[in-house]
Point group: C2
Chain length 183, copies 2
DNA sequence: CCCGAATGAGACATCAGTGTCTCGCAAGGT
DNA sequence: ACCTTGCGAGACACTGATGTCTCATTCGGG
């Protein structure tokens, strides 16, 4: 009888990442619950988005933990990270475009922690000579986010096969489009 | 006295790419005109977004023309394209996230033309042996759009210097993050 | 089996944004 | 100098979404 809050959030994430302007009523129907019940669990639309933000940050941090970035080469760590992040890609794509989250006075500090960890990983890769040093860690971090979002949308719209998601992102981010001699 | 329609559109693009939910009143004030005047030129919000879409497609096509993609190597063409597209990057970033544009019955055919031209360029690069063949032209096209949008946002938010916009996008897209032996 | 807690459906007021209209005014052409 | 045209400001009604409330129902624990 009791609503599964986690399930509601995941359904909302799936809907909102496809249609960011979906109404509370649409979110409720998508989750199979009444609008009143949705309001009982999330005071309003803002609260719902905030809850999604917390969920997204938690999943991203879980992916960072699971990827064990400090083990092995930086490239291997990045591959593991993208693999771990794939299930949450749609949610993250939605959150990144929800710039309302980044306008207010106090932005969720979680983003800073995530940026720092990802950025530090790229920096480590540079220091170890694996990654180029002419692309800043900040830009590589942004590019990773951007490609994850782009990949999630491309898969949703059927322009890229879901099974290729990881490969396309990792290969482009690491190797780029240029064909190298040793390939 | 007469309103400069083009200027209004550019101001609206600049505002909306930062705050996609800006109201008609905010758009009007940003453009320095009254809300009634804005409505005289664009029947409603939908019409405004459609006009921005037409503008964005026009600028993208102009960039494609100016880039002379068929001259020289595919890599040089891509570099020219990104350079030409930079001024319109914010507008394109807004349009890509305005998924309302891609839901209705008839999507503006311009996007298909643009996709086809960009995609054909990547395909040419593959056939000439310049680009990798394990990344599909469709994905490279999507990735280009995604990186342009990400770059535009990163510059707007000050995370990347404006002067580095082209370099960061081109180098990542072409060469990736991995450091190669010859570098 | 019974009772409390939670839900769904619907009614309702409220509010922000929209679209339309009028009126006074300023600019620019003739 | 006149007069047409376009603009700004404001008033207004309308719509869609939101947030709150009530009430009947149903689920599930004790």
């Amino acid at each position: 009888m009791t609503v599964d809050r986690e399930q509601v959030l995941r359904t909302a994430a799936a809907l909102l990442s496809r249609k960011a302007t979906a109404t509370m009523d649409e979110v409720a129907r998508a989750a199979g619950i009444g609008r009143a019940t949705l309001h009982r669990h999330f005071a309003g639309r803002d609260a719902l988005v905030k809850a999604l933000e917390v969920l997204g940050i938690r999943e991203f941090e879980a992916a960072l933990d699971a990827a064990r970035l400090d083990e092995g080469s930086a490239e291997e760590g990045l591959r593991r990270l993208i693999a771990e992040i794939e299930p949450a890609a749609g949610l993250l794509a939605f959150l990144v475009t929800e710039n309302q989250l980044f306008e207010g006075a106090h932005v969720n500090e979680g983003w800073g922690r995530l940026d720092a960890r990802v950025s530090a990983h790229f920096r480590r890769g540079q220091q170890q000579g694996e990654f180029r040093i002419d692309l800043t860690p900040a830009w590589l971090t942004e590019a990773l986010y951007g490609l994850i979002g782009t990949g999630a949308w491309a898969v949703q719209d059927g322009r890229v096969a879901a099974k290729d998601f990881q490969y396309m992102i990792v290969e482009l981010l690491l190797g780029g489009a240029r064909r190298n001699v040793e390939q």
